[in-house]
């Protein structure tokens, strides 16, 4: 039974890491209807910039961090100005393609600036089993994962406060509901988008730091976006709580499936299981966990 709980908890905590990436997608999709293919590239770019700044300037994490935040904000603003603004009012698929071009550009830029080699990123907390839980409950859980979950919780709370309490947040929700109506009541759409991309950049930085500390800062960080996709299908592209719950469900179920079903069919089912799960779920509820019910009128 302990083993079951270890798998479950490990899965849930992995799910938090997936949710972290998924939130970046949700932010941008909700506000601008863009499926941001470059989110993975941004995660890599953020982490590499942070490590690169530490390396090149020889400064500590705490100095590199604000510099990177500034870089991500500039990047977000630049993306809005150079890529999105000229493409305003274009179909979704065009914007999606533009973010693909963006992904190539960012990947090239990151490696051009800081080189292709793999680097380590050490956060102040070590990735070892928590002794406390081990001693008291005989359950093995990484203390790093617990901290990551806490950071994720903090981030989500901050974002929720930002969106509910500030003017920008209210404008943002208006934009998410209806672009045209928001424009009509005088909300500056472009500024909101710029803010959103900057915020998404910061979310990418948080994800990049945690994933980078976990797996090393390397090109493969761009692949973590793949882990976020089933989460998005399950939770809905427009729902922040959906991203979190979806992450938890996907994380836990894929681990349980791999451990308990995997050995029966030769293993390695983690690659497709979350997608199939999300797919089956969609067949029952096409709008996802928290997506709004789509009523099609004719």
């Amino acid at each position: 039974m302990n083993f079951f709980f270890e798998v479950l908890i490990g899965g849930l905590l992995s799910g938090v890491m997936y949710a972290l990436v998924a939130i970046g997608f949700v932010l941008i999709y909700k506000a601008s209807g863009v499926f941001n293919f470059a989110q993975g590239a941004m995660v890599y770019f953020a982490a590499l910039t942070c490590v690169g700044v530490m390396d090149k300037l020889g400064v500590s994490l705490w100095i590199a961090l604000p510099i990177t935040v500034a870089v991500m904000i500039v990047l977000g603003l630049a993306i809005e100005r150079v890529v999105l603004r000229p493409l305003v009012n274009q179909p979704e698929i065009t914007l999606f393609m533009a973010t693909i071009g963006l992904a190539f550009f960012i990947e090239g830029l990151a490696q051009l600036m800081f080189g292709a080699q793999v680097r380590k990123l050490e956060l102040p907390i070590e990735d070892v089993p928590s002794q406390y839980l081990m001693d008291n409950y005989n359950i093995l859980v990484s203390q790093f994962d617990i901290m990551a979950a806490a950071v994720c919780g903090l981030l989500v709370t901050t974002l929720a406060l930002l969106f509910s309490k500030t003017r920008v947040g209210r404008a943002l929700r208006a934009v998410a509901d209806d672009h045209q109506a928001a424009l009509a009541v005088g909300i500056p759409l472009q500024r909101i988008w710029a803010v959103l991309w900057a915020v998404a950049g910061i979310v990418a930085l948080v994800a990049g730091l945690l994933w980078g500390a976990r797996n090393g800062v390397q090109f493969a960080l761009t692949f973590v976006a793949l882990k976020a996709l089933p989460v998005l299908i399950l939770g809905g592209f427009t729902s922040m709580p959906g991203a979190i719950v979806g992450g938890l469900v996907i994380g836990a179920s894929e681990k349980l499936a791999e451990v308990y079903i995997g050995p029966l069919v030769g293993g390695g089912i983690e690659g497709w299981f979350p997608y199939v799960l999300a797919l089956l779920f969609l067949l029952v509820r096409p709008e996802g966990l928290f997506g709004e019910k789509i009523i099609r009128r004719i």
Binding site: T94, Q111, P286, G288
Partner: protein, 352 residues
């Protein structure tokens, strides 16, 4: 040559229903085909044939397949490479296990196998749409590659898990040199492009576009959604399957399942978006863009004598920037750009 349609009157609906209603277009196409069939194999170097034109044609075919599904029937898919893999591995097994099976028939059977898989994984499209469907088709991608890695029978128990394409021999004639392979691929692609164009100008094509543009209205008019969507999945997968078989047989030779990874699916998707969603010509232009541009950039970067790692990264950045640039200039893809150019030419020098 003057590009004019004045004086070309259509006196029958048959004439008006032609694929290229303008005489000059027909002449240009025939000339191009003649060049492609006669001049190119004679003049082009083996490098151009085997490293540029063959992959270009194969990717065009795959892009055409995806365009049928995404561009015409409106169902976004990220599982293209999986259908290509099914086509390749099925063809391999058919040839291996049925002695004396003609290669072309094996490609058709490979395509049909892909079509069956396409129908199975197209079923969710009846309930799910848009990006949700796209992400769901990723399930196809991962599941198919997983199956190919897991089931040794499919790779004929090869210890390294790869398949080696058998030599292509048709009626005793071996297609073993670049120019022969090129002609074979060209023939297959040309015929299939023609068939696709025919489908698109007939009722089946209209049913796809109707479902794409407004599915409820399509149903009210009498199209059956399920049949239409699944047919689109089947035809699209068939095209991708044949392309996948050609990719293995006429291009790579020895392939592992990994060759048909998500990366390839994405590349094909890029092709149709850059080329033009819902355009046969766009499939070709997009394939040209995605196949040729990196090569061109690579050549240019090398001639600049930059350090290789800098050159490689710059290539990637320029490639990305060009995609964005083209989308800003013409969001509907290269095919639309081409069309606008043609319209201008038709009216030139009296644009008003």
């Amino acid at each position: 040559m003057l590009y004019r349609e004045a004086g070309q009157f259509k006196t029958s609906y048959q004439a008006d229903g032609q694929i290229f209603p303008i005489l000059q277009d027909r002449i240009a196409l025939l000339a191009m085909l003649a060049v492609a069939v006669v001049a190119v194999p004679l003049l082009a170097s083996p490098y151009v044939l085997s490293a540029i034109l063959i992959p270009f044609l194969i990717f065009s075919l795959a892009a055409l397949g995806l365009n049928i599904l995404t561009g015409y029937a409106g169902q976004l898919s990220l599982g293209t490479a999986a259908f290509m893999a099914v086509g390749a591995f099925a063809s391999y097994n058919f040839i291996l296990r049925i002695p004396g099976l003609p290669v072309l028939l094996a490609f058709v059977l490979g395509g049909l196998s892909a079509a069956l898989v396409g129908i199975a994984f197209g079923l969710p499209s009846l309930r799910i749409r848009g990006f949700y469907l796209a992400a769901a088709t990723l399930a196809t991608q991962f599941f198919v590659v997983w199956c190919l890695t897991k089931i040794p029978y499919l790779t004929n128990y090869s210890t390294s898990g790869v398949i080696t394409a058998q030599p292509i021999v048709i009626l005793g004639y071996a297609f073993d040199t670049p120019d022969r392979k090129y002609l074979l691929v060209l023939a297959v692609v040309a015929v299939m492009a023609l068939l696709a164009k025919n489908m698109i100008r007939s009722n089946v094509g209209r049913s796809w576009m109707a479902v794409r543009d407004m599915d409820v209205a399509a149903e009210v008019i009498g199209f059956r959604l399920m049949r239409t969507k699944l047919l689109a999945f089947a035809v699209s997968s068939f095209y991708c399957g044949v392309a996948g078989a050609l990719y293995a047989y006429a291009y790579l030779g020895t392939v592992e399942p990994e060759a048909y990874n998500l990366d390839l699916s994405f590349r094909i998707l890029f092709m149709i978006i850059i080329g033009g969603v819902g355009s046969v010509l766009g499939s070709f232009l997009g394939a040209a863009f995605i196949v040729l541009l990196p090569v061109l950039l690579n050549v240019v970067a090398h001639s600049l004598a930059l350090p290789t790692s800098v050159a490689s990264n710059l290539e990637l950045m320029v490639f990305g920037a060009l995609i964005i640039f083209f989308l800003i200039v013409e969001p509907h893809g290269l095919a639309r750009l081409w069309q606008i150019g043609k319209e201008k030419l038709r009216l030139w020098p009296f644009p008003h």
